[in-house]
Symmetry: C2
Subunit: 334 residues, 2 copies
DNA sequence: GCTCAACTCTACAACGTGGGAGATCCCGCG
DNA sequence: CGCGGGATCTCCCACGTTGTAGAGTTGAGC
């Protein structure tokens, strides 16, 4: 690997002149610059980023901490984040926490995380009341998702209450009255589950529909199989319902599958709306109505907040951003 | 951020002694080491990885170049790779190429890629006859997937021919005789499509079943919607078939969805086997039989090859590794 | 022809760490 | 008591880059 010294020697100039040429320093004779350029080409020289990073104190790397890439929502979020980062010339190191608090904290404090200029942190294990643990991290952080709403730093997320309300209103507008809320979490009022439940209840209230606690189904872990399991329990219990708001697409798909096993028709017998609008919602049978939470907007704003934090000399006050959502109506609720 | 100098000053020793303490240099008095440890704790010192990287010439970063994270196969591959890397204390920078040749090459030669100690390269755009372009990259590379089989470096992949043959044999064993091969690519004999087609044909041969070219369906781009589109064309054409080997799970799921729209029962009318065994195969309706290609093994071996290449003083001869596959029989072919 | 500012380039230092070589100390042994 | 050798620690420097300061050059204006 040739270094800047080799280029300087070949071009017959000082290393600083080579550096100047690379960095478009204005006060250079064109002839000198050309000599440097030629030497760079001849040697195939490329600047050593590590050295540059050491000098500048920046690495151009962001760390994205998410629970699990196999979860389609996070894979698509990662995709959005990487595209937004790429547009800024930044690279992304993805770290999987498995949603475990200990591992999340370990990742935040790991030597590896410290290599990144900033951290996009989609907390799953850490709770609101543990948010103060974040202040001990000197690397700028932007929070994604719901688990920490009022942390010591910026927070970018989706309109959970409004999205769930829109989904529920949509089902009500179809004339449905007994609407399952699939994916609640006992006692949780913040977090995605709690917020979406709030939206669900707001919609019922508005429409003056009675709230039946039996229609609210707790699920720990939003995966296809937990959705399927929950639906089996519901059907076994004999509860009647004519619609379902699922708090993410995975459990909606799992539950739909079980309903179909039991001969329940979607949307005729039960209309279904999911949440997240993952790619698969377009290809399930029937295609799944869903709330598109505005992932690209979340990613873009999060990266902007984070780069601003990185660049800022002074501590910034925490900011909040809620992305635009959109109800996508497909076959499952038509 | 305290540096090693601050620690040295506080502990009353030289910076090298601090360095020695951190790196478990054996010849130290326990008392000295303790002083250093105390000082580190008091200051909250953490070694600067960038400086360490510059000094050592290693970054502990690997670059994983894949077409698209939104594709479940690659998301799950990335997951496996990150776990395998994590076990070695390495971080992974994921770069999405979109499957475009120009972007793939740009990524290989980008300054950012140069930050990584090694590259895991899942080529999609680059062809076999362009493999020589890889030799101009000085960073160690390990190839994943089929697009370049005999490149200038290690290659880790799955047993495509054998897997597709096993899938086809399984369908034949169910008494099926007119088996669609969904996902071929005209004229391609290498690449996943070509290899899997070869396995399909071998199984037919062995069973002395006739080969009907009409049953081989080309698909460009293996997504749910291309699988769905292809199936619509097939049904429109009136070709008769009683089974289907799809060359990945996404097109299998897309095609199944269309079959069900048309009232074709899976597996009664048409038995289906996919390829890749993505998570979703366990949750579709019906659940999808598939070939588990051994992703974890691919990831582990690829990381091992790559770290060996990185550590090696001398150029290594290209190696090949084929992972173990497994036929997973589920409802779609039972 | 002189002055001054702008232009062009260079030497040096510094970012934070770890390798190498050497200085000092201590202990056992003859 | 002197010596050899291991134990322990320090000094110096290099990794490759860029910021700072300044030296030397050029040219416009008078």
């Amino acid at each position: 690997m040739p270094t800047i010294h080799d280029v300087a020697r070949l071009a017959g100039v000082s290393i600083k002149t080579v550096s100047n040429a690379i960095n478009d320093y204005p006060y250079m004779r064109p002839a000198t610059k050309q000599k440097v350029i030629d030497a760079i080409a001849e040697l195939g020289y490329r600047p050593n980023l590590t050295a540059r990073n050491l000098r500048s104190g920046r690495s151009g790397l962001l760390s994205l901490i998410i629970p699990d890439l196999r979860n389609a929502y996070f894979a698509e979020l990662a995709d959005s984040v990487m595209r937004a980062a790429d547009a800024q010339g930044l690279s992304v190191i993805i770290e999987q926490s498995g949603g475990e608090k200990d591992r999340e904290l370990a990742l935040l404090h790991s030597d590896r995380a410290q290599l990144a200029d900033g951290i996009l942190y989609s907390a799953a294990g850490l709770r609101e009341d543990e948010a103060h643990l974040l202040t001990s991290v000197s690397t700028p952080i932007v929070l994604l998702g719901e688990h920490i709403l009022h942390g010591p730093t910026d927070h970018v997320t989706m309109q959970n209450v409004e999205g769930a309300r829109a989904a529920t209103e949509h089902l009500i507008s179809l004339g449905r009255t007994r609407i399952l809320a699939l994916g609640a979490r006992a006692g949780q009022t913040d977090g995605s589950a709690g917020l979406r439940l709030t939206g669900y209840m707001q919609a019922l209230d508005e429409a003056q529909l009675p709230f039946d606690p039996a229609l609210v189904v707790d699920i720990v872990g939003w995966y296809r199989f937990t959705g399927a399991d929950a639906m089996r329990r519901i059907l076994a219990s004999g509860i009647k319902f004519d619609a379902m708001v699922a708090f993410n697409d995975a459990i909606a798909l799992g539950a739909m599958r079980v309903m179909q096993e039991f001969g329940i028709r979607v949307p005729d017998d039960v209309a279904v709306v999911g949440y997240d609008d993952i790619d698969e919602a377009q290809y399930s049978l029937p295609t799944l109505s869903s709330i598109n939470p505005g992932r690209d907007e979340i990613a873009t704003v999060a990266i902007r907040y984070l780069t601003e934090r990185i660049a800022s000399e002074v501590p910034l006050a925490p900011r909040d951003h809620l992305s635009q959502f959109e109800l996508i109506v497909r076959e499952s609720s038509r």
